[in-house]
Symmetry: C2
Subunit: 145 residues, 2 copies
Amino acid sequence: MTLASDDEMLEVLRAEGKRITPQRSLLLRVLRDSDGHLDADEIYRRAREKDQRISLSTVYRNLNVLKELGLIIELHLDQEHHHYELRDTAEHHHLICSDCGRVVEFDSRLVGKLRDQISEEKDFLITRVHIDLVGLCSECRDESD
Amino acid sequence: MTLASDDEMLEVLRAEGKRITPQRSLLLRVLRDSDGHLDADEIYRRAREKDQRISLSTVYRNLNVLKELGLIIELHLDQEHHHYELRDTAEHHHLICSDCGRVVEFDSRLVGKLRDQISEEKDFLITRVHIDLVGLCSECRDESD
DNA sequence: GTACTTGCAAACTGTTTGCACATCA
DNA sequence: TGATGTGCAAACAGTTTGCAAGTAC
């Protein structure tokens, strides 16, 4: 499902003249072991569980490096801070429960259709599509009755 | 195109037990006279052109009030800070040029279809849909050739 | 009159940066 | 060895808040 193994990702770093440091390997591992959409602080917390010494600024710096190399994606999930996830071959979007905060990924043919339609209508070359659907998941909906 | 006139919006404030202050009227006027998607600082700048004394914290406080009353919408246009616009009867989404920053609004039948499809598939009650398409507008595309 | 609102300055949060030291290649 | 990366603390940007004074109703 995911673009590349950790090794392949490390290879991208090397190819771009970036060094492979224990911190970078660790961050990639944390991201891979997660279910996606972690914020910087959560990534920092999980990384520290494995290596006490990593610093928050290193986390931020490397998230930016990985983002520039296209290995991860920065999300703006209707929150005050950013979320990050490994870049995936399968484009997907997010369905967010406004009550419990749960995030579910989805995709649909309609997304590509929409993109094509608007691209033509507005004469844009569309490179990225962000879709967030916000609502109540079935559990939270039941509770609120 | 827009939900209500300024007077109607002020009426909503009154109905909620909020006071109608010159600052609030001014902010609504600034939002209405704009093309949408202004950030707080720009709103502050424009408001100050009309009334020197308004403060940035008043701007923030009132944007939050208006947001809670549903009179305006807060956007997260892939930037570090928020943008605001008057709530519109016609739901619309944003097409953003990653080069010049231009923002174009759009809507499409496909959005409702997508919403219905995912709602059913994932068993969510979907209340809000945010779509940002990012790309190059025709002018920026021509320049980059 | 009084609860709500304002302006100011100070606090807060998420993120970035300068610098000296450490480290990958 | 030399360029890159790290940790720390300090800076920064956007936003929120405490408080005393002002104002809508």
